[in-house]
Structures are given as structure tokens and as C-alpha cells.
């Protein structure tokens, strides 16, 4: 029987980062991936003469080689930095909201952002500057928390990070109210909420403001050759370090011994592989609900998993248009198109199958002009379904329903931006929760892991990592991990679980 120090389940971002970290530490590692490609959502696909990005809108924490962000530093440590070519984005976002009649672009850069806010709302500069100073403190406090391994010194926290403590248990709404933000400033500063998939009454202030600060202070980038480039960079690194990666190899069972410790895995063709350690880059619902024998799952693991809320189920319309963005009048790279900036009501609308056309839309050519043949455009529009409404769709209705929803997304984009794209569609692909369930196996086709709740956001998860660890030899990382969803978070989460696994191995004398 084949034997490895660690088996990683799933070659998503978390699994890839975990494998590279383990291999760098000299451990043997096998990555089992159910699909025939690495990356999970981080991939691309070809239709006709176009290569579409499958999921990435933008990536924060990259910065430049001289002034690196946290994710670039992570990639540097893992030996993949030089394998990826980044393209920096110009503006942060273009916000369109029907109810408030908003239509404006916000730039990257703390100062530029504050100036732009001031132009939209006189006095806005003061509020945003105040928010960014809290943001900086949050970033530093989170770094301190991570080096203090969940045992921070309360006196240091009080002295150095008072704002962090002040907002630690606040939602975004509570925090902005406490800071006395007028509505328009709240709307501008909370525009990114859809990236985290929870509305502002539920979303943790610390989690959100940390992300906002990262975007605005460091800017954002995307890989030149779609996120497939990221995934192949990691894949190549795994091979360089002597790791194994098996495709079409779905893990069907995590085997435990009499002591409840991981002792192996089984894959879909029946092959068993011996290992004492597993890092699962998949949903705890899958791990505890399907991969483990029921009697091997501790009660607390069931309670924790049952307590959580599945986050947004993905839906994306991918379009290749036979005109250039200039010809079509598509000016921006990154659009947020909402019915209302009241995230609670918007979130609720997104729970209905036929009424959801709110979207985060990317025109890839505005970042990478030559991403498609000359005179053409790649545009993709993403929304989330906040309820499991796709469970009612039958096989027979499926193609019809998905195009109905896609049509309403396209109409919405045209109306919101005064563009006409419908007659220029040369290629179209529509990904629904069923598509995401198909490729990545996530429950209900969720793409955002467990939703950030006021009691289950970044901070409590980070502080309770060890308390959430139940099965010796089994760690769970990626989008369901303590850093929640998103590209940088899932890489970091996978890395963290690898570090914890190395620590576990050390403790067990391996």
C-alpha cells in the first residue's frame, strides 16, 4: 500500500498551498483531486477563440515585488512568486445602485479614495481617513494575534490596539453607526460586502474593514493568464518538490484507527493510501457527513457543522462579445450593480431565483487589453444566491432556467450601464450552483464556504482554531477555514493548516 506523510484532499487553492508548505518542510505528500485540473474555482476554460476566467474578479494583498503585500510574501515563501505574472488594476470599483441612483468610480489608494469620497459627499474625506486609521490598527492587531497564537496579552491589546478591541464584536453596520457615518459614506465604504457574501448586519467589522483596507491601501491585481496560471504555478511547484498529484481521484473515505486518529484514505477506484495526516480542502459538511464513518465523528464536530450557515451559491454568466469594449461603451473593469445599497434588503432579494440580478461584473479587457482577440470583449457577471433556490430546478428545466436568470443579468447590465451587448454575444457559458457543485462538490453549490456571521466571523474563528479541531490527524483548510472565503484567504488557510499539521507531527514524534 502506498504511504505518505500527508494526503491533501482537493487541489483547490488551500490544498495546493498546504501541499507546497508540507513538501518544503521535507514531508511526503499526495494531493488527490476529483477533477482533471488543479485549482478548484481557480481555473479557466476555452470556448471558441476565447479563454474565460472561471472565478477570479481581483486579488488583494499582492502589491509589487518591492512593496509586497501579504499574499505575495506567502507566494514568495512557497516559491511560486516568480512563476506568476501579475497585472495591476487601475480603479477599485464602479458602483451602480438603482435605489440611491449611484453611478461612480472609486480609485485605489487611501488618499485618492478619501478625496473621491469627499467629492461625492462633502466632508467624506474625514470619515474615510478615520476608517483607514482603524483599518491599519486592525491589520496590525491581526498580525499580533496570529503571532500570539490565540493567547494575546490583554494589556498589549488595550494599549496598542484600542480601536481593534472597540470594534471586535461589532458588525459592519454597528461599526459604521458607532463612527457616525452618514448613509452615503456607509454605502461607499461597504460596497465590497458582496465579496464576503454576508450582509452588513451580520458581517464582522474586523473582517470586512481588514479586507477593505487591504484593497484600498495595496490595490488589486490579477494574473495575466487567468487563475489557471496560479493553479499551474502551484502544481508545478509541487512537482518540483517531489510531491505527487493525482487527478480524477476523488477521496471517498477518511479512515481512522481505534484511537480515532487518521490512518488513511480511500479513493474512488477503491485504492487505499496509508497516511497519519489529512488536510481536507473541502467542506466540513463533506468531511463529517460523507467521508468519515459516522461513529468516528465527534459529537462536537457535528454540532459545530450543524450550527453553521452555508454561504452564497454561485452564478456567473460568461460572455465573449464580438466588439471591443470601446465600441460597446464598457468603460470599467469592475462593476458592482445593486438594487439598493441597503445590504440587508439586497441580500434578501438575492434569495429569489427570478428576482436576483444584482451583480459584480468584470470586463477583463479593461485590465488585460489583449485577453481576447482584437475587436472582442470578455465580460463576466457574477451573483450569489443567498438561499438554496436552485434545489427546486429539475433536469428538464435546468437549461431553460439558467438562461432565464442569465438573461435578466444581461438586461440588468445593459440598463445600468447604457450599453448594448445582447446582439454581440459570440460565446456564452452560464455557471450555476449546479456547475459549482459538479466541479468542486460543495454543498448546494456554495462558492463562499460558511457565511460570515456575527458569531462566526474571522475573529472568533481565528481565536478558536484549536477548539474547532476534533479528529487527530485531520485538519480542514481552504474557503471553509478560519480565514473564510476568497483567494488570499484560502491560500493562507491551507498554509496555516499545513503549519498546524507539521506541529501535530512534531508533537506525535513523527
Amino acid at each position: 500500500m502506498k504511504q505518505y506523510d500527508v494526503v491533501v484532499i482537493g487541489a483547490g487553492n488551500g490544498g495546493l498551498a498546504a501541499a507546497v508548505k508540507l513538501l518544503s518542510a521535507g514531508k511526503s505528500c499526495l494531493v488527490c483531486e476529483k477533477h482533471n485540473l488543479p485549482g478548484g474555482f481557480a481555473t479557466s476554460f476555452v470556448r471558441g477563440r476565447f479563454e474565460f476566467e472561471a472565478s477570479l474578479h481581483e486579488f488583494n494583498g499582492i502589491g509589487t515585488p518591492e512593496n509586497p503585500g501579504s499574499t505575495r510574501l506567502l507566494f514568495r515563501e512557497l516559491g511560486v512568486e516568480d512563476k506568476i505574472e501579475w497585472v495591476q488594476l487601475k480603479d477599485a470599483f464602479h458602483l451602480i445602485s438603482k435605489e440611491e441612483d449611484y453611478r461612480f468610480t472609486m480609485p485605489f489608494g487611501l488618499e485618492a479614495f478619501a478625496e473621491a469620497a469627499d467629492k461625492l459627499y462633502p466632508g467624506g474625506k474625514k470619515y474615510t481617513e478615520q476608517l483607514f486609521s482603524v483599518g491599519l490598527q486592525i491589520r496590525e492587531a491581526l498580525e499580533y494575534l496570529s503571532i500570539s497564537k490565540g493567547k494575546p496579552d490583554p494589556s498589549i491589546l488595550k494599549e496598542k490596539y484600542p480601536d481593534f478591541l472597540r470594534f471586535a464584536s461589532c458588525s459592519v453596520s454597528e461599526g459604521f453607526n458607532a463612527m457616525g457615518f452618514p448613509k452615503m459614506i456607509k454605502d461607499i465604504c461597504s460596497a465590497y460586502w458582496c465579496y464576503l457574501g454576508a450582509h452588513c448586519d451580520n458581517l464582522g467589522f474586523i473582517h470586512y474593514v481588514n479586507m477593505l483596507y487591504s484593497y484600498i491601501s495595496g490595490g488589486a491585481a490579477i494574473p495575466k493568464h487567468r487563475s489557471h496560471e496560479l493553479s499551474l504555478a502551484f502544481e508545478t511547484r509541487i512537482r518540483e518538490l517531489g510531491g505527487d498529484i493525482w487527478y480524477n481521484a476523488e477521496v471517498t473515505r477518511i479512515i481512522t484507527d481505534d484511537m480515532g486518529h487518521v490512518s488513511g484514505v480511500q479513493i474512488n477506484d477503491g485504492t487505499e493510501i496509508k497516511t497519519r495526516h489529512v488536510i481536507a480542502n473541502c467542506s466540513p459538511h463533506v468531511v463529517y457527513g460523507r467521508l468519515m464513518d459516522p461513529e468516528a465523528v465527534p459529537e462536537r464536530a457535528l454540532k459545530l457543522t450543524n450550527s453553521r450557515k452555508l454561504a452564497g451559491r454561485g452564478f456567473t454568466v460568461f460572455l465573449a462579445l464580438d466588439r471591443s469594449p470601446d465600441d460597446l461603451g464598457i468603460k470599467e473593469h469592475n462593476y458592482f450593480i445593486y438594487d439598493t445599497c441597503d445590504s440587508v434588503r439586497q441580500y434578501k432579494n438575492m434569495g429569489k431565483l427570478h428576482e436576483n440580478s444584482a451583480q459584480a461584473t468584470v470586463c477583463l479587457n479593461r485590465a488585460i487589453p489583449d485577453c481576447s482577440p482584437e475587436g472582442t470583449t470578455i465580460l463576466y457577471m457574477t451573483t450569489l444566491f443567498t438561499e438554496d433556490v436552485w434545489s427546486l430546478v429539475t433536469a428538464e428545466d435546468y437549461f431553460k432556467v439558467k438562461n432565464e436568470v442569465a438573461a435578466s443579468m444581461i438586461d440588468r447590465f445593459e440598463k445600468s450601464t447604457d450599453t448594448h451587448i445582447r446582439d454581440h454575444i459570440e460565446e456564452i457559458a452560464v455557471a450555476t450552483p449546479i456547475t459549482y457543485a459538479r466541479y468542486c462538490g460543495h454543498p448546494q453549490g456554495t462558492v463562499y464556504g460558511y457565511e460570515s456571521q456575527y458569531w462566526d466571523g474571522l475573529l472568533p474563528r481565528v481565536m478558536m482554531v484549536e477548539e474547532d479541531h476534533f479528529v487527530p490527524g485531520l485538519r480542514i483548510g481552504g474557503g471553509y477555514g478560519e480565514r473564510l472565503l476568497g483567494y488570499p484567504s484560502s491560500y493562507k488557510s491551507g498554509y496555516n493548516e499545513a503549519v498546524r499539521t507539521l506541529r501535530d507531527m512534531e508533537k506525535e514524534g513523527e
Binding site: 470556448r47 499551474l232 450550527s307 433536469a395 475573529l459
Partner: protein, 371 residues
């Protein structure tokens, strides 16, 4: 403050039930029903269409009563062990989407290469095959295409259009079809009776015979004149047939100023390339923890080499587009023909190939996913 949020979270977990978790969800079950991967099936009936063409009716060989639903125009793959080889070939479904839900798929096959000859001459009612799930992007999309479809078929390229015609009649698709079907003589017309007795105002059939003059048929090739005469204004053109037909008809469509957006064609599998006195190279194939050393003929694709050796290598579209055989190149040089080059940009950067349309130019080593 920080410790409050911990106790709050503990309380929420305490309150949650310790019930067994659901092992699956409706959305995940639908994904599985539409994309089950491989499906064991059995030949239930064989019908002779023309001298060299037969239609095979397939039914599930497992306890499943239905086949995955699909979009009219898509293909499945058929796999079987023939001699020492394990062969897989794509075939357009000629049956309708609704029939899939009754547990029926049909493929219509012309005697051509090794696999199709085996099907025509050897396969019988009761023969078991493994099917690969429906796929491909040769279908009508109401957000992209006109509701007036001109279907241009050459020879056995009629098969996906039979599915589309049936889909329109049964109501699972909603568009008008003008079928312009090129065949050599009347006896080469596949589905002749079915097409000629069809009476539906949404469907119009024009048959163009190249080697015979007969009443009720056009004569010659599918030229701009023929297209002009029969194609409605602002239509979407769907082409299925041999590559020579694509070249010819696309030139004719250009004369009518039809833009690329409105022309789609089904891709044909990469065949053998023309090489005088083809050499035989050594191909080292890594599959998980196994390594195989096999011969690879210069004029054949790497996938053919692996099939000859009986390896369980991935094979689906065989034309380069689906990416199912995405494999790591470890060493060696190779050629990919332009019309089969659909790799992703990063594949070039990191050295990945699609063996189904890659010809060896030297000894090679590749790492291939196991199926």
C-alpha cells in the same frame, strides 16, 4: 471583549443539534444526474440507415432508468475493449433530450475507422458499452443564437441535427430550422424517410445531391447560391460534416457577409497526420504511481498510442477543445495542428498538452491523469 465573542460562539455551537449531517443535497444530486461521468449501457436495437450507416439504440445497463438530460447537438463517448486496445470515441446524440429521460440514447455511426467498423460489424443487440456523459458546445443557445437556425449537414454530420429537429418537435427547444443536407446520392441520405415525411411548419428540409440529379432535390454543392435561396435573413448557421465541407461552406458564407459570430461548427476528431514513412518513437507514460513505456507512431496522436497499449487514458472530444486529457509534458517535442489548438495560455507556460491532438516529433515522456 475578545473573550465575549468566544463564549458567544461556544453558546451557538452548544445550541446546535448533534444530528447526522446530510450526506448530499438536491443541487449536488442534480449535478450528479446531469454529469455522472461514465454510464454503463447496453445496445437495445440496431437499425440500418444506409449501406454503411447504422443507428444504435442504447439503454442503461445499471439500475438507473434514465440517461442524463442534454442539449440537442451534444455528444457522448462510447468505450469498449477491442482486442488489446481500450477505445473511446465521441458520437453526436441523434436522439432527443426527452428520450434521455425515457432511458434512450441513439447514436448513428458510419463505417470509418477501427471503432466504427467494430460497431457496425461486430456489436450486436445486448453488447455492453461504457458511455461518457453528454458534453460539447455545439447546441443552440437562445441568448447567443438567432431563433432561425440554418443547419448545414454533410454526410453523417446529419446526426446532431436529427436531435435538434426532434427537440423542436417535442418542445424542448424553440427555434425554426432550415436543414440543408448534402449527400452524394439518394441512397446515401441518412434518415431519408423520416426527413421526407416530416411535416412541421418550423422545419424545412433541403437536400443537395452532389452525384445525382433527381426531382425534389437540389443538385451540386452547398454554394452561396443555395444558401441565398433557402437561408432566412439573420439566421445562425450550424455546420456539421467533414472538414472539407467546413472550408467550402465557410467561404460561401463569407460571400454572403455572414460574420463569424453567426457560424458554428462541430469539431471533428484529430485523425492521422500525413507523414511519409512514419517513425515509431518511445513514449513514456506516467499514470499515478505507474510508468509505462510504449511505442508511439509519428503519424498518430499520443492518445491513439495509449489506446493501442490498452492504457486507461482520458479521451473525450478528441479534437482538443474539451481539455479532458490535459496532461503534463515532461520531455520531448511535438506538433499540434492549428485547428486543434485550444489549450489555455498558462498551459503553454507550464508545459501542458492535450494528447488527443498531439503528434510526437521525438521520444516523449508525459504524465497523464488516470480515468
Amino acid at each position: 471583549m475578545l473573550f465575549n465573542i468566544i463564549s458567544e460562539r461556544r453558546k451557538m455551537i452548544d445550541k446546535a443539534p448533534a444530528n447526522q449531517l446530510p450526506s448530499t443535497f438536491a443541487v449536488n444530486e442534480l449535478a450528479k444526474a446531469l454529469h455522472p461521468g461514465y454510464i454503463p449501457a447496453r445496445i437495445a436495437a440496431i437499425r440500418e440507415e444506409t449501406e454503411n450507416v447504422k443507428t444504435f439504440t442504447l439503454v442503461p445497463a445499471s439500475s438507473n432508468k434514465v440517461f442524463p438530460y442534454f442539449r440537442a447537438g451534444q455528444y457522448i463517448t462510447l468505450s469498449a475493449n477491442i482486442g488489446e486496445s481500450l477505445l473511446t470515441r465521441p458520437y453526436s446524440l441523434s436522439s432527443s433530450p426527452k428520450q434521455a429521460l425515457e432511458g434512450i440514447y441513439e447514436v448513428t455511426v458510419k463505417r470509418d475507422g477501427l471503432f466504427s467498423s467494430w460497431l457496425i460489424d461486430q456489436a450486436a443487440v445486448g453488447t455492453e458499452l461504457v458511455l461518457g456523459e453528454p458534453g460539447g458546445d455545439f447546441y443552440h443557445d437562445n441568448l447567443r443564437d438567432s431563433n432561425k437556425v440554418v443547419a448545414i449537414a454533410g454526410g453523417c454530420g446529419i446526426t446532431p441535427f436529427r436531435s435538434m429537429i426532434k427537440a423542436v418537435i417535442e418542445g424542448s427547444e424553440d427555434y425554426q430550422i432550415t436543414l440543408i443536407y448534402g449527400a452524394r446520392t439518394r441512397s446515401d441520405i441518412i434518415f431519408k424517410k423520416e426527413l421526407e415525411t416530416l411535416s412541421d411548419e418550423r422545419i424545412r428540409i433541403i437536400i443537395v445531391l452532389s452525384e445525382e440529379k433527381a426531382e425534389g432535390y437540389e443538385h451540386g454543392f452547398i454554394t452561396a447560391d443555395v444558401l441565398k435561396k433557402f437561408a432566412p435573413e439573420s439566421a445562425s448557421f450550424f455546420l456539421c460534416g467533414p472538414d472539407e465541407m467546413y472550408r467550402f461552406v465557410k467561404d460561401e458564407l463569407k460571400k454572403l457577409e455572414i460574420t463569424d459570430k453567426n457560424i458554428r461548427h462541430e469539431r471533428n476528431a484529430a485523425g492521422n497526420r500525413n507523414v511519409d514513412n512514419p517513425r515509431v518513437f518511445k513514449l513514456k507514460v506516467r499514470m499515478r504511481d505507474k510508468v509505462y513505456s510504449i511505442p508511439a507512431r509519428e503519424n498518430e496522436t499520443l492518445t491513439v498510442a495509449m489506446e493501442r497499449a490498452g492504457l486507461n487514458a482520458p479521451s473525450r472530444c478528441r479534437s482538443g477543445i474539451c481539455g479532458f486529457c490535459h496532461s503534463k509534458l515532461i520531455s520531448g517535442t511535438y506538433t499540434v495542428l492549428k485547428e486543434h489548438e485550444y489549450r489555455r495560455a498558462a498551459d503553454f507556460k507550464f508545459g501542458f498538452i492535450h494528447p488527443c491532438c498531439t503528434y510526437p516529433d521525438s521520444d516523449m515522456e508525459i504524465d497523464v491523469p488516470t480515468v
